[in-house]
């Protein structure tokens, strides 16, 4: 294992975080009463922010309606600041527009929190909209495509919507998010058009995303629409749709990701609906129906000519589904769905408790990528797979393309251990998870004897494609999953596991 020096600094920070965690006060204390009366020390954010502005921790900020940070302005948010979505202006959301920046650098002891205005215990998915960042990187759709729901029925919304296509600078910088939580977001601003907790639309590689958490959002926890931004230390607890959704030519890299689904939450009435196909990963080559087909090609080969394949890299992920016999939305409960002509690299992950199946390779265009080695799946570990389907892990013969033999033929090295429980893999994993479960009940560090403590792709040297794409950002590991045996508990202290 060799670490670059910035990474080493990060680990040190994370370590400090753990030490400081015990002194963290409950940052929900600032909110009083159900129904969200605005307490003293609050300020309202509304309309457009056109000049640089700093939000400080002493004040609770209320997002009222759609709030746009406009081109040229930087919104700086101090550690420990809380921003809540107004419960009367339904669907309130923060848009960082193309050309604008957000500089939200919390700390492990004082994370920045975007959450519901309602009191703890009375919060629900869809209480407010979400955080949307629009960058100037490229994606593989042409025309003026708007962010879904950005033209919605929300106070202050521009009915024309927010266009995110047409970017030109893959190195664009939308700022920094560090130690930021987004909770109870995902309001559907139009019928069936829910917002994501984090929407990263065409965000460029100059942007920094580290230590982020989505809690109980009504749509995806993270969704990337094209762009090139890298990220690490991303946590997703209880999503209404997918935990990690990438499409439209996303070419960024992400390492150390945790997704945890213990139940499907009931959204705030009227705020929208849990998706009928919530998955762990859902990666599309392009959005439904909207990709440009290169001459002679298929729409789902979109972007080939411009190097705009959907070529994201996800490494060291631990994604946990609801498991058991829980009721799962009709087509949901798959750990990883790769479809619509996506490429990308999926390495050193743990996929556990996904009730329908662990991994699915949906269509011929994705399979073409897979056979051509631009879609690479390596060194995964599957536990408690297919709990609803008598142990289905792969696509059944005759359906789709992700059969066990197909992965074996491409040396994917997927370990299937359906008899192994997720609980047996991790240092701490509660046997029953309830609304009262604390974040401290989870320790994702592999127990020393667990299979995931080893079996990782520990060098990329053997595969120049992986090495080239990983660069210095993705580190090969001897273990699988989001945490190193005996390593830093990077999620500790700043993440939250409050479901209501």
């Amino acid at each position: 294992m060799s670490h670059s020096s910035p990474r080493r600094r990060l680990l040190a920070t994370a370590l400090l975080t753990v030490l400081a965690a015990c002194s963290t006060t409950d940052d929900n204390d600032l909110i009083t009463g159900p129904g969200g009366g605005i307490p003293s020390g609050t300020a309202v954010l509304t309309g457009s922010i056109t000049a640089n502005r700093t939000l400080a921790a002493e004040t609770t900020y209320v997002l009222r309606g759609f709030v746009y940070v406009q081109n040229g302005a930087t919104l700086t948010i101090r550690p420990g600041t809380k921003i809540v979505g107004d419960t009367t202006a339904l669907g309130s959301a923060l848009f960082i527009m193309r050309g604008a920046k957000i500089d939200a650098q919390g700390t492990a002891t004082a994370p920045i929190v975007f959450t519901s205005q309602r009191a703890p215990g009375n919060r629900a998915p869809g209480d407010w909209g979400g955080l949307i960042i629009v960058g100037n990187a490229r994606n593989n759709r042409s025309g003026g495509i708007i962010v879904e729901g950005s033209n919605g029925s929300v106070l202050g919304a521009d009915p024309a919507g927010v266009v995110y296509t047409g970017g030109s600078n893959d190195a664009d910088n939308s700022g920094t998010l560090r130690y930021v939580r987004v909770e109870f977001a995902g309001y559907a601003t139009l019928t069936d058009a829910e917002l994501n907790s984090f929407t990263f639309a065409a965000v460029g590689s100059g942007t920094t995303f580290e230590f982020l958490q989505s809690v109980a959002g009504l749509d995806d926890s993270y969704e990337w629409f094209g762009g090139t931004v890298d990220g690490r230390f991303l946590v997703s607890y209880e999503a209404g749709d997918d935990h990690f959704d990438a499409s439209e030519g996303y070419r960024g890299r992400n390492q150390f990701l945790i997704a945890m689904q213990s139940t499907y939450l009931t959204p705030r009435a009227g705020a929208g609906a849990v998706s009928s196909d919530p998955q762990g990963f859902e990666v599309d080559g392009c959005g439904g129906g909207g990709c440009t087909a290169p001459a002679g090609g298929n729409a789902q080969s979109s972007g080939a000519a411009d190097g705009l394949w959907n070529m994201n890299m996800f490494a060291n992920f631990t994604i946990i589904g609801v498991g058991g016999g829980a009721v799962v939305p009709a087509q949901g409960g798959v750990g990883m769905v790769l479809r619509r002509g996506t490429g990308g690299h999926y390495i050193n992950g743990v996929i556990a408790r996904w009730p329908r199946q662990a991994i699915s390779l949906r269509d011929s265009t994705s399979n073409n990528r897979f056979q051509a080695d631009s879609l690479i799946v390596r060194n995964l570990f599957v536990a408690e797979g297919g709990t609803l389907t008598s142990g289905v892990v792969f696509d059944a013969t005759g359906t789709n393309f992700g059969q066990e033999a197909a992965f074996a033929a491409r040396n994917s090295a997927i370990t299937v251990a359906n008899a192994t429980t997720a609980a047996s893999l991790f240092t701490a994993y509660p046997t029953s998870i309830t609304a009262a479960t604390q974040v401290s009940a989870f320790d994702w560090t592999p127990v020393g004897t667990a299979a995931i403590a080893t079996g990782g792709l520990s060098t990329f040297a053997a595969d120049p494609r992986i090495a080239a794409r990983a660069g210095t950002f993705i580190t090969p590991t001897a273990y699988r999953g989001a945490a190193a045996p005996g390593g830093t508990k990077w999620w500790a202290g700043w993440t939250n596991y409050a479901r209501n």
Binding site: L90, I145, S153, A193, T266, A269, S276, A295, A299
Partner: protein, 914 residues
């Protein structure tokens, strides 16, 4: 609301009871009729009508109408005299004792000293000639279809009738567009009073609500004059209900018919409840109180959810039925005397029932495939079965007050109800599997109007007209259900576990219209000059309430339950006191809106002759409209739209009479088009699963349209016409429905484009084919064709999204062709007609990159009709409709986005006039 309709119905039927049998004088008869200006076509008051050789005589009243009572039976000669006109003698009128005879007479203005004219009575009643006359003499471009033409076609209602008009296209069998322009540019009125739109998202009037038996004429006005409301550009369609006949007359009609894709075929049918078959459904379809009154913003106990499930009607599955024959029947009674008083009346009712089908009913969502092709992303195929009922009633009472005033009262009520079941199956890409869905809906539409019109003649030179009207429109779609099952990995179909799985919708729209209108006309110059000034005012107030609450029904039950029929999934057993599996959720972004529209207008119009040949109409209308729309979603988002505009709409029309049979017309006018209320409400409406969400836009502006027309007309004989016209229209900020691409599903909304243009040529020919030889005796051929081209100029934001920035306007067809041939025997009692209609390919929704536009394919529609005397006073009619069974097809590239076949229809009708 019910009560209001009931009153309207009662008002309609009351005169039926009051209609007496008039006592007749044995040796005398009556002559009634109208004296018309031969050049202008308008009624002439103060004309002396004398029965030659007797003291019997009278003076014509308002509108040129006259009645000669107690005329001795036998051969009668009339002398007609008026200052400024040439005297006319009409000979050879045969009057039977006890009968009433109608004799209309035209007088020619005496510019120079003309000798008296003598003609024989040549009865022309309700004919093609009249329609063409209207076309010939009106100052603006009009097309009219009369009761007689309607009688010769297989048309069952006003919408079908309008298909025969030059440049008119009819969408979905009910919505009219003129000159290929979108339906928003066409308005409709009934006896001169604006008809409201009962459709939530469209500015349309479903003209199939008006059975053809109630129609006197359907007039399509294509040129604006300042005395008309200014919010049309394509056409204003005026439906005139039948006026009373000269003597008491009763007619009964009965039609039975069959459709080859319906009769005896297995169709899905929606289970009915009491009242569905008369279009006034039972309250069991009402939204359950426990659902309507629950605040979903607070915590809801499980008992309440269970109560909601128990309270819903719990009908989700279609029945399989056998298609029945179509049936329609009608009675009308008319006369000109009530209790010995000269009061004209017509009371008419009709009822029809038909089974319809959309066979091979397909629905698909497109995705871009290889080489620019379009491949299906989601594709469903199935069948829709529909049972429609339609009834209408009309009462028209009119009386002269003195000799110079006339008062007309008209009440109408029409109602239709469609009970529909659609079942389809197919592949849903997002769910990556097969789904089966069932939609049950029942839609009720009604329009009730009352209209009082007064006409007063002040001496020979001044005339006042006023109208007061009240209209009530309703559209209800109570308790629509949608249920979707999806196939699981073991091949079993289970209820879809999302908000799309099972939904119920209660839609309710009520609209009230009040209108008051008055104008005063003053003639100046010589009588023959017919120069006039007309001034008037107009006030209209419309209020509308529309509410569309929609709820999803959800269950947490296991797959053993969700594989059952929905009636069991949401049955009582699942909602037991200890059960905790069920849940009900509002679809938060659906919503309601209310609208008010106050329009006031004033106009001044000058009509004068320049020399003998040229007539000029000019003037202006100032219209001020204030539209307010308040909308809110179920989740509580509220928006207010305000649209206030005052517009001056000038008009200049120059008609040149090249000869007695040739006209040349020019017109330049300005009109306006305002958004439909729904379009201003930013709330979402969407079909279940896969449908495009449609959201209004509260920032819409009104459209201004500059219209230019030129037309040459030749009238070889009274019943023949050849005309060639050209038109051009320039639109400022036209409103278009656009699909918006998003990072998720497509959404449709409405936007103002920057500008648009449309220009075209119209050709109309109606010609007796006698000249082709004896074989062709009795044959009349007719054709009208409109060819046009339009261009939309998008604003930069739209142009980014839309695939095709250089395209025709949405809804604009490149051509419309109507043609046919009629054969009539010498007596006129037997006739046969063959009709052909086709509309060029038009865009129904602009495509979003990279997908092409969605277009409606041309349908080649052939209809045939045969009229024949049967025995006694019974006539028969045999009608064939849609003989080629042309399929409705909406294509996106090579993909059929929507399509269905409606089948061929054959019907036999009997009409008895005792």
């Amino acid at each position: 609301m019910r009560r209001r309709l009931a009153i309207a119905t009662l008002t309609t039927l009351l005169p039926l009871l009051a209609a007496p049998v008039a006592a007749q004088q044995p040796a005398t008869g009556r002559i009634v009729g109208r004296i018309l200006d031969a050049a202008g076509g308008q009624g002439l008051p103060d004309v002396q009508i004398q029965v030659v050789g007797t003291p019997t005589g009278t003076i014509s009243g308002i509108d040129g109408k006259y009645t000669l009572a107690g005329v001795k039976a036998g051969t009668v000669t009339l002398v007609i005299k008026r200052i400024g006109y040439a005297q006319k003698t009409v000979t050879g009128i045969f009057l039977d004792a006890g009968k009433t005879l109608e004799q209309n007479v035209s007088l020619t203005a005496a510019t120079v000293m003309l000798s008296a004219v003598s003609v024989t009575a040549d009865a022309e009643k309700g004919t093609v000639t009249e329609a063409l006359d209207l076309q010939k003499v009106s100052v603006n471009v009009v097309n009219a279809i009369t009761a007689e033409q309607i009688g010769k076609s297989p048309d069952g209602d006003a919408a079908q009738t309008l298909q025969r008009v030059s440049g008119v296209t009819v969408q979905d069998g009910k919505y009219v567009q003129a000159r290929g322009l979108g339906e928003r540019y066409t308005t409709a009125s009934l006896n001169g009073a604006r008809l409201p739109s009962p459709e939530p998202e469209r500015k349309v009037v479903p003209l199939d609500l008006f059975p053809s038996g109630l129609l006197q004429s359907v007039t399509t006005i294509k040129t604006f004059t300042p005395d008309l409301p200014g919010d049309f550009s394509g056409a204003q369609v005026d439906i005139k209900t039948r006026e009373f006949p000269a003597e008491r007359q009763t007619s009964y009609s009965l039609t039975i018919g069959a459709n080859d894709r319906v009769l005896g075929k297995s169709l899905p049918m929606a289970p009915r409840v009491a009242g569905d078959m008369i279009g006034v459904t039972s309250s069991v379809r009402n939204i359950p109180r426990v659902i309507a009154r629950t605040s979903f913003q607070s915590a809801i106990p499980q008992e309440t959810y269970n109560a909601m499930v128990l309270a819903q009607r719990n009908v989700w599955t279609a029945l399989q039925g056998s298609g029945a024959p179509n049936l329609s029947t009608g009675i009308s009674v008319g006369g000109s005397q009530i209790l010995g008083k000269r009061i004209g009346y017509l009371v008419s009712t009709s009822y029809g029932m038909s089974d319809e089908v959309r066979a091979d009913d397909r629905y698909a969502v497109g995705n871009a495939g290889a080489n620019g092709s379009v491949v299906p992303l989601t594709e469903l195929a199935g069948i829709t079965g529909r049972r429609s009922v339609q009834w209408g009633g009309l009462a028209n009472i009119s009386s002269l007050l003195g000799t110079s005033s006339r008062l007309t009262f008209t009440a109408t009520t029409t109602r239709s109800a469609d009970s529909e079941a659609r079942i389809d199956r197919g592949f849903d890409e997002n769910l990556s599997d097969s789904i089966a869905r069932t939609t049950l809906r029942y839609v009720e539409r009604g329009i009730a109007t009352t209209n009082v019109k007064g006409e007063h003649q002040w001496g020979t030179r001044q005339r006042t007209e006023w109208t007061a009207a009240y209209g009530y429109t309703t559209r209800r779609e109570p308790d629509r259900s949608d249920v979707v099952y999806s196939r699981n990995s073991s091949g079993q179909y289970q209820l879809l576990g999302s908000l799309d799985g099972a939904r119920r919708l209660w839609f309710d729209l009520d609209e009230q219209n009040t209108l008051a209108e008055a104008n005063h006309q003053i003639l100046f110059g010589g009588a023959a000059a017919r120069n006039s000034v007309k001034i008037g005012g107009y006030v209209r107030r419309t209020t509308r309430d529309a509410d569309a609450p929609m709820y999803a029904f959800l269950t947490r039950a296991g797959s053993d339950v969700t594989a059952l029929p929905a009636e069991q999934i949401f049955g009582a057993a699942q909602a037991c006191a200890t059960c905790s599996l069920l849940n009900v959720q509002p679809i938060g972004q659906a919503g309601s809106y209310d609208a008010s529209d106050n329009t006031a207008a004033g106009f001044g119009m000058l009509e004068f002759g320049l020399g003998e040949k040229v007539r000029v109409v000019t003037g202006g209308r100032y219209e001020h409209a204030f539209i307010r729309v308040n909308s809110s979603t179920q989740a509580g988002f509220a928006a207010r739209a305000r649209l206030e505009n005052g517009d001056l709409l000038p008009a200049l029309i120059v008609n040149t009479k090249l000869s007695n049979s040739q006209n040349l017309r020019f017109a330049a006018t300005q009109t306006v088009s305002r958004p439909e209320y729904r379009e201003l409400a930013p709330v979402t409406f969407r079909d279940v699963l896969g449908g495009v969400s449609v959201t209004g836009n509260d920032k819409l502006r009104r459209t201004l349209i500059a219209n230019f027309d030129a037309r040459w007309e030749l009238y070889p004989t009274a019943a023949e016409i050849v005309s060639i016209g050209a038109f051009a229209k320039v639109f400022d900020s036209p409103i278009e429905r656009v699909e918006q691409a998003t990072s998720g599903a497509y959404q449709a909304t409405f936007q103002n484009a920057k500008s648009g243009t449309s220009f075209g040529v119209e050709l109309e020919v109606r010609k007796d084919l006698d000249m082709l030889g004896r074989l062709f005796y009795g044959l009349t051929g007719f054709a009208n064709v409109t060819v046009m081209q339009s261009r939309i100029n998008l604003n930069p934001v739209q142009a980014q999204t839309v695939t095709d920035t250089e395209r025709q306007m949405v809804g604009q067809a490149p051509y419309v062709l109507n043609t046919g041939v009629t054969w009539t025997n010498r007596s006129g009692a037997t006739s046969a007609t063959l009709l052909y209609n086709v509309v060029g390919e038009r865009i129904t929704a602009a495509g979003v990159k990279p997908l092409p536009n969605i277009v409606e394919r041309p349908r080649h529609v052939v209809d045939a009709a045969l009229r024949f005397p049967l025995f006694g006073n019974v006539t028969g009619r045999l009608d064939g409709k849609n003989l080629l069974d042309a399929r409705y097809q909406f294509m996106q590239g090579g993909l059929e986005r929507e399509g269905y076949s409606a089948g061929r229809g054959l019907s036999l009708g009997l009409n008895w006039k005792p």
